[in-house]
């Protein structure tokens, strides 16, 4: 009975993470389209949400857990997964509040690493896995996207530079609808899988399923729904940062950042090298801006984003580890996760009330 309660707390927390994942990453797919007026904001998030939902059903062949190869699978318990999810949710909400795009995958990995470390010590964490799945992709993704988008915008300006700006803008706005849709579909096939994998692991650990079983339909539908709802609600603070605070972009730059971002992610996917959509998109926007004029990029904002990337894993790990410590104060039953869940809900409601009543500082445009 107790283990079932913990299981359902983990499932609900995983869906909450999935919601924040969609909510946090909406900007990757829609920020440039909204900024260049390729699509109306509500239309853009509706299309992104629908394609994230569809994408979640398209590919179910993703690894069972995102933390595979990074932490020792034998030490994973539902409490560690719960604590890791809380670490990731906390970081996603904190970076959303400050309007900073950061990787939800890295937050989740950080949370699970911190919780596993708190539970079993350093032997539970694989350094090589961290290097392979987090550090190197985090270094490669933004630089590669920046160079590729810069190259793309130079080619675009070279080919269409002498045409009437109105015609060019209309053309690239249409292109952004295609590239944005591709981005959203890709996001759905990637990110909803993380939640499905975590829910599946929890069900296996609890004895409800065997590792060889198929992912239950209700897991697929609930994960797809959570990420789509999160995407539809939209993290507008991050959309504002990516759409207008890094550079003031024209439709050609928006297309270059988005189209080349999608191309880079799919190319990496093709050779089995996982890159963060957030890192790629942010790098692409900076590259498209810098290639036009280096000073067009607000490097202060870009610097803040990079700092957030560097802090993602350690910050989520600290919260994940601390959460695990708190839950263990209440033993191995459901009391710990319940207390943490209620405390987090109260904190969220308090923060929401402050935002609604305007007692927080808005992100400057």
């Amino acid at each position: 009975m107790d283990t079932d309660v913990v299981l359902w707390i983990v499932v609900v927390t995983a869906l909450a993470f999935d919601f924040t994942n969609g909510f946090h990453d909406t900007a990757n797919a829609v920020a440039t389209s909204i900024s260049t007026r390729a699509m109306a904001p509500r239309v853009a998030v509706t299309i992104a949400a629908a394609l994230n939902f569809v994408g979640a059903f398209l590919s179910l062949a993703v690894a069972a857990t995102i933390a595979s190869g990074i932490v020792d699978a034998d030490v994973i318990t539902p409490q560690i997964v719960f604590a890791g999810l809380i670490g990731a949710i906390a970081w996603n909400l904190a970076t959303w509040y400050f309007g900073l795009p950061s990787s939800s995958s890295h937050a989740l990995i950080g949370g699970v690493v911190g919780a596993a470390f708190a539970a079993e010590g350093s032997k539970a964490v694989y350094g090589d896995g961290l290097l392979e799945k987090v550090v190197i992709p985090a270094l490669v993704a933004p630089v590669l996207a920046m160079v590729a988008a810069g190259l793309a915008i130079l080619i675009i300006y070279r080919i269409v530079g002498r045409q009437h700006p109105g015609v060019v803008s209309r053309g690239f706005r249409l292109g952004q609808i295609i590239s944005g849709s591709l981005f959203s579909l890709s996001h759905g096939t990637n990110d909803a899988q993380k939640t499905m994998g975590i829910m599946f692991l929890a069900l296996v650990a609890n004895g409800n399923l065997q590792p060889s079983d198929d992912i239950p339909t209700w897991v697929i539908v609930s994960a797809a729904t959570a990420i789509a709802l999160g995407t539809y609600v939209g993290g507008w603070r991050i959309i504002r940062t990516m759409g207008s605070r890094i550079i003031k972009m024209d439709p050609a730059q928006g297309f270059a950042a988005q189209g080349i971002g999608a191309a880079v992610i799919l190319s990496a996917s093709h050779v089995g090298f996982p890159l963060s959509t957030t890192h790629v998109m942010s790098g692409g926007i900076m590259g498209a801006g810098a290639a036009k004029r280096f000073s067009a990029v607000r490097w202060g904002v870009a610097g803040n984003i990079v700092v957030a990337w560097v802090l993602t894993l350690p910050a989520a790990a600290v919260v994940g580890g601390a959460t695990y410590g708190v839950t263990r104060l209440f033993g191995t039953g459901p009391a710990g996760p319940l207390v943490v869940s209620v405390a987090l809900l109260v904190a969220l409601l308090w923060a929401l009330a402050r935002i609604v009543t305007g007692k927080t500082v808005p992100v400057e445009a």
Partner: protein, 79 residues
């Protein structure tokens, strides 16, 4: 080179990404250019030029569409 990651994979990602950047940006720019020039030529009464620019735009769009389809195929064939 990096222990857990093959250097060859990284160079392949870089090469494929840059090639994709060139293909995507070039083809879609030609779509926009061809469309614009075709419209101009048609308004100027140059039927043949309008046809040639229009055909160029269609061919470039076909190549761009192939790149998009390839992207969707990669998504669906992930393992």
């Amino acid at each position: 080179m990096f222990g857990a990651v093959e250097a060859g994979d990284i160079f392949e990602v870089i090469g494929v990404s840059l090639a994709a950047a060139v293909v995507v940006s070039t083809t879609f720019s030609i779509v926009v250019l061809g469309g614009a020039r075709s419209t101009e030529a048609r308004r100027g009464g140059h039927g043949t030029a309008a046809l040639v620019w229009g055909a160029l735009a269609v061919i470039a769009f076909a190549v761009f569409a192939v790149a998009v389809v390839l992207g969707v195929h990669i998504m669906l064939s992930k393992s």
